[in-house]
Amino acid sequence: MVFRVEVALRKDVKDPEGIIWQKRIAGDLNITDVSEVRVVKTYLVDFNDIEKDQVKSFAHDVLADPVIETFEIGTALVDNFSFDWIVDTGFLPGVTDNEGKTAQWGLSLFCDKKQNDHDKVFSGRKYLISGNIEKSQIEMIASKLLVNPLIQRYAVYNSKEWFETGKKSDFIPRVKVESTPVVETIRLDIGDNDLVELSKNKILALSLEEMKVVRDHFRQKEVLEKRKEKGFPSKPTDCELEVIAQTWSEHCKHKIFAADIHYVDDTTGREMDIRSLYKTYIKKVTYELKEKKPWIKSVFDDNAGIIQIDEDTLLSMKVETHNSPSALDPYGGALTGIVGVNRDIMGCGIGSKPIFNTDVFCFASPYYSGQLPGSNLMHPSRILRGVHRGVKDGGNESGIPVVNGSIFFDNRFIGKPLVFCGTGGLMPLMINGKESHLKKAVKGDLIIMAGGRVGKDGIHGATFSSEELHEGSPVTAVQIGDAIVQKRMLDFILEIRDKGLFNAITDNGAGGLSSSIGEMARDTGGAVINLEKVPLKYEGLQPWEIFISEAQERMTLSVPSGNIDEIEAIAKIHEVEVSVVGEFTDSGYLEIYYKEMKTALLDMEFLHDGNPRYKLEAVWEQKEVEPIDIPVYESLNPAMLDMISRVNIASKEDWVRQYDHEVQGRSAGKPFCGAEHDGPSDAGVLRVSPFKKLAVVVSHGIKPSFSDIDCYWMTASVIDEAVRNAVCVGADPDFMSGLDNFCWPDPVYDEEKNPDGKHKLAQLVRSNMALYDFCRYYEIPLISGKDSMKNDYGSGKNKISIPPTLLFTLISRMEDVEKMVSMDFKKSGDVIYLTGETLNEIGGSEYGIYNGLHAEGFVPKVDAGKFKKSYKAIHKAIDMKLINSAHDLSDGGLGVAVAESAFSGMLGAKIDLREVAVGDDVKRDDIILFSESNGRILLSVSPENEKEFVSVMKGTVYRRIGEVTESGYLKVTGLKDTSVVNLSIAELKKKWKSFMSGMN
């Protein structure tokens, strides 16, 4: 029997959610005739053996709030409300329904029913909409705002239709899959075209060359003999092909970073052969620094990089991207992005505890007004809102604070938004007398899957993210996480970790069990897996689907058989499901069974090292620097106000404040600082514990617009930006580690599909060259990284490629948190200093783009030797408590930085551009004010500390450019001794804060 329960706020209670929807309908869809929206929560109770009275009592006691809500069993509730339209919504079958799961759990407890596989509650929402609006408008409201048709269904009724038909219709989204598990074999003795077709139809994303290698493998005599001996069919099984495809996916194997590249610089005529960008640049710089940085504990071979930050503490960090899923379902994509990277930390070493998240997004402008280039694309404002909500729920519900991040807008992200999610974690250096960054599965250990259950969600996620998006992208790639299931699992894992009950752990991310068990089995050299032991969300999955599903919230553990009972007992306390699904062996094979069905027998060596290496071409052509053409204005007041409210500069406070940034109690440098708690901090600072003064500093740099000129200097710039940000708050320049996350357009040349592939690969090569060069100069080991290489929408001429993007995340340390400096001016009378030199570098800058320039002008460069000296001096001055505020100059340059420091401190400032250290060719006020030259930091210093400050800074470039005032005005004197900016702080701040607020 199915019962429907509907709950709503009483008529006399204001409905804040409804008000928000009304606002969005007007703002996003320009439909202004909606007079009211009210939200009704719906629950479809589909239980065996339950009475209406029980459901009614549950609704009365639990589902409806007795103070403000009302409820009905059935559909009579809305009879009490007036409305013109009803939009009735619910999830599609198989989509994670967290609210429904909680209701089911609560109802079972409420009526003392044992949890079982059948009983379900399906949650939904009804929107009661009043106003004089057309059916087509309601359809638009439903499909463009209220639901995502990929994961939800909806029905629309006007009030008449509602009473005639709507009341009676009930859609139960129970998954029904009519299929019996079978293992199929697949013929590979087919022609080249058929191999390509096979790869495409099965979404394997394997190239012809790779398909041939697979085919040849299964022809080998030894392979055939082994299969015969074990009773396997000679032809490969569906599961085997899927496992190979997943293991060899770009997402997991990083084939482009591992490729042989022939690089030609057309300008200089220089040619070179690179055997793996990863080994040549990224690994190399880290290994070269290893001796100097003994605190590097584990890099490149775990889920995250691990460093030692004091005598008994390890810090781990990882940053991931979740771009394609976020394009399809922004909320679910971002949510799984954040909880997914949390699991990387939980599964690194013997298990770390996540202590902070970071998030960086790249979107098209939320004010984009053009035509969307594809019918399956969403408007960027909707993506922004959905991604933001996903990261917010994922972090907040898990109790992990967001401490650092940014949003970068460029309309070339219209087809593929970028969603970077990072997590840092802590663990003790030693646990139970063992070094906790080490782990190893042992032969004979049982393989345990812990956490969520497996469904069809996320199948082909790993291969799918290696493909460009197209109209027919599979919806199984969409999934929604459950942060609470994961939080329970985290509590459980930390407890069994501290008791020393397992030997190794890793998370189930891309590729699911195939990836996690496949990786761990390398420790022992094999594994036997029994897929029928894996708990499922619903029946009907094929064995191969069980093995590669990316269903969320799961970890894989390697457990000595004697510890199983204790693990199960602890799991019961935490209500975490654990299942023994196999055993680690040293057979050299991954052996998979589903009951008696022989599902896969894969040679470990072939699986992990058998994929052919790509051979790629890269050609670089240095463009001539085009001169900039910007009119000269007497007053820069209008430019200043426009700059401060540009979408990449304006305050994101409304968005960021919705992230919990203080949970766990470590926050010392919050996202906001200053007199009114709204100043944009340069970096996140976390005190390791209230009983220690040691702090971790988290910062980042990102600047895709510089890539239009040269990815070498883009990369140098983002590294410098991350370092500068960290130096501003007081981080130790000698204790910095980096994480590189590349998001690139497809760099593999194809005459038709990707004609500029060689150029994009050259950009990637140059980015890696700079990564090596500047990490070496700054002595920053790269402890972790990731690449996402097919960030394009469409193909051929209509292709929209993202600008090459590198997110450089930096974690550093300060020994005494109490020396931290924030970016807000503190006192009138303080002297303003600017370090570094301002050059004619407008190329790719916000001011350049504001003036309609694109790739014209000089891109900012990095003089690492000079900059490093300056940063060390600043660090010393901070250490000596000589500095009252420090703020990084980045987007919008000096003008924006000085305005931000002033209005964050609610103080005025006057500066003189004649005092600024400039390059020989800098003769314009606007260039000095808005150039984005690297290496510059704005400082304020008490007059009594000036003398000492000057002596510390000796030998570096710095200038005294003005002072902090009480006036409430920002006053800038230009090169001709005239006032070029004279604006009130209040006006600047208002402009800065208004642009991005009120949207969410």
């Binding site: 403000i68 609210e99 898990s398 109790g399 203080e662 926050s667």
Partner: protein
Amino acid sequence: MGKASVIILTGYGINCDVETGWAFEMAGADRIERVHVNRVINGEVDLEDFNIMVFPGGFSFGDHIASGKVLGLKIKKEMGDKIDKFISDRKLVLGICNGFQVLVKMGVLPGRRDGVFGRQVATLTMNDSAKYEDRWVTIKANADNKSPFLEGIESFKVAVRHGEGKFVAQSYSLRDIRSSNLIAFQYVDKDGDSTKNYPENPNGSDLAIAGMTNYHGNVLGMMPHPEVYINKTQHPEWTREEGLQDTGEGLKLFLNAVKHARENL
């Protein structure tokens, strides 16, 4: 003198348990245990061994259905008698944020004059802004509330971090809450007056209520998070305010609890 023994409940999405433990550690509590609710329910841990119990902040059951509701259902159903005894013995109970929501929705706050569990007559619901927000506000203690938690506390700045913190009660209950001096903390404006105005009042609470006690003062529930203002560097203005003490003002509440437990329980 007795000992202050603190039990901090965990599980199902509670997530402020560690820092709440730190606050009690800094306040000098003699024993601090973080215990999964199921270990109290199955008898592995005995509430009788403790005299301070905390329902920490977090997102129990993801705030699905309504914040605090489902954890409240579980606790009341499976360990309600133990809670009843603990509170009847006048031991101290502190509910922070999600913990406050749990206490209200179980009917422990305001509760009854002559018992522990009452009907649910108040609620904490969606902020007027319809947004979850993390921001610092100023709260003022009610001088007429004689709860041991509040001794010597006047007003202080503290973080709120919630989406469902708007306190609403049926009108007769609200009158009673006020007249019986159950209000513990109110959101105040620059002049120190209780306010309805956003953002000083971050959620639109009736009577600007940020926290309340039961009739006996031994149960305190509050939306703000005093446990993360136990040292100076947690204050958002610490890099510019010169007069801040090294220890945060939120600590006082924990010191009070420890002192009261030692002296009276």
